[in-house]
Symmetry: D2
Subunit: 140 residues, 4 copies
């Protein structure tokens, strides 16, 4: 499949438009036919457990949803509404920046699926999941 | 099923321990055998789409995960690790406080399932979902 | 919400059209505004574990998908394509007929969500889950 | 990661023990560090829509669950209880044998995640998904 994708700069620009994406401080690291890679900057507010300083599962879910959505945006040129997500939590995410890799599983006419994997600063997989997105052409 | 639950005050105290739960500003509204009800205070940082000011799906996922987790905590007396979540997005959540209702679907020995529903300030269902939690007794 | 639903007989007729639904031997027990109730007749072929004779998780997934789909069909008058399902397994389903209750969580214009609960012959919850369905009007 | 896996013959033997797996007529095609590949033989009973002869989503869910479970079994030497599954349906599966590829996403001490992809006889992806499995050592 020969998919054209938009570049890192354009994807970064789309991603940065959203205040919550800015709060998560997403940087687009790469965009190509295999998918995208993004990084988020750790914040003390993410902690759920004050003793062990784990990252809240909702933050990981937000990263998984956003990375999967923008893997589709890299092809369609626009982010798309999320229909549903599934997130699996693999291990506690300790303080530190997180990276996510995401790719399109299947691009459909009405809805599409993409998958995301989130890694901690040591490269361990902390969470993974997938989302289904509404990709019908926008009504003009 | 006659389940004892911890009260609103104790659940609020547990919930407030986590920095991200404080950032979402969770208030426990009620706790009883039917489940729990919580409210979060809207923040401008939640927005994903700057024109239409929709709330980011990751925020809704965080609310669904937290409400389901604390529906279990109301019975077990402690929050529990999330194994996986599913979130369905029903309609765009416009600015305004959100309420969530959550209840235990099944309390198991090793893992348990709970369900959450999130409503906007007009009482419309904006998202719903479920989580599975690791509820084996903590190793001492 | 005042939803008109089609009756038990009409829903049974729609359900019975599918060979796999006939193989599972679905009977519609009730249809009303609260949702639907269906029953399936146990078959020896469902077993996954020959010593303990548990029912295969795929059979439970099929029941959850079908019951959720027909909870929507009870309102729309037709079964609809499944976009995705989530199934949680609560306990081993021993031999015996299973009942499922399903209801619509949210009926949307493009896609809709419904939830199902499956009970064994003693009334214990063995699995539960939800599906999202493509409910845009069929193109003529 | 250097994972030892059991061979095709041993995995086939484990898989064939279950009556429903025999009914689906699973053949193990390959087992290696990358995951497993299995095939199922099409049956007329799988049809959900009698005009277009699509395969029932429950059959695809059963294949996804089984393939993911046995991707874990290839490493652990035994099939494991399913905690939950997610299945995304990408396109209608027309009559014909189906192949599934599955791999372990993360092997944990208490629970583990694996992913499956199902292809029709022309090699098109018809469904994909993931399951979380209870992988704590069996109590003796």
């Amino acid at each position: 499949m020969n998919k054209e994708t938009i570049g890192v700069e354009k994807l970064q620009e789309l991603l940065t438009r959203g205040p919550f994406n800015r709060w998560l401080d997403f940087s687009v690291l790469s965009v190509n036919e295999e998918g995208i890679e993004v990084e988020v900057t750790w914040r003390e507010e993410w902690v759920v457990n004050p003793e062990q300083r784990y990252t809240h599962g909702g933050i990981l879910a937000a990263i998984i949803d956003t990375a999967a959505d923008y893997a589709i945006a890299a092809t369609l040129g626009r982010p798309v509404p999320t229909i549903s997500i599934r997130v699996d939590y693999h291990k506690a995410a300790k303080p530190g920046n997180l990276k996510a890799r995401a790719h399109v599983v299947r691009l459909g006419r009405q809805y599409s699926t993409a998958e995301s994997y989130v890694y901690d600063k040591d490269g361990s997989l902390v969470a993974s999941g997938r989302g289904t997105y509404y990709t019908a052409p926008p009504r003009s």
